[in-house]
Amino acid sequence: MENYWMPLLGGVLIGLSSSTMLGGLGRITGISGILGVSLSKPSRENNWRYAFLAGLIGGGALLLFLKPGYFDYSLDYPIWQIIGAGLLVGFGTRLGSGCTSGHGVCGLARTSGRSLVATVLFILSGMLMVAVRGIFS
């Protein structure tokens, strides 16, 4: 149990962040949507999206500076695995209108049926992928 205080604290921070977005801007904090819409040509409409993404990177940079130990892991995976995952995550989150933040963190809290279906599906298919790769490795 001791090891789960940080995940719980992190989760609460993520909740407070998305609550701030809803109370401040009236927006759902869906990172794939924010990023996907930001890919269109620059517009004032998207300023809050650029700002959120800048904050996300800024927050990571701040922790890397203050507590580099948090980043003590390697992202050294086979190239095909990284590219395949990136393409599936990018296309899939846009087609399914959301990812772990929009459907999971926000949609579930709003008891949205769509988000519940999406979350169950992406968790089950993630588990399937890990299981299948486990069998073949």
């Binding site: 992190g10 990284i82 399937l128």
Partner: protein, 136 residues
Amino acid sequence: MMSVFIAFISGLIFAVGLVVSGMTNPEVVKGFLDILGDWNPALVFVMGGAVGVNFFTFKFLEKRKPMCAPAHFLPDNKDIDRKLAFGSVMFGLGWGLLGVCPGPGLVNLVTLQSGALLFVGSMLAGMFAFKLWTKP
């Protein structure tokens, strides 16, 4: 201007939440998805904490006008359709393949590791492909 400031601070807090919870480490995420192996329930606590807070705050906030907007921008689509299902399955397969979803993928850019850059590049390519595909 205020909305830009709020969005920046929210992004900052979101990133700190992702990092301290361990969600930026792909092995922790794959550990959660690995139900047949050495299961790591950390993600349950992250989701529980986040949804637990939002479940109460959203109810309250949705009844009030947002601070910097005339009204809420909430999704009104209720259709559980093929797009939602196929998209979520695709995303899940990619998530399980590497253990990285969009938020942690972006945060990992700060490590300047080539894997982080390659993942975000590929994710953007996937999003761009979707844009081209949906163009009439």
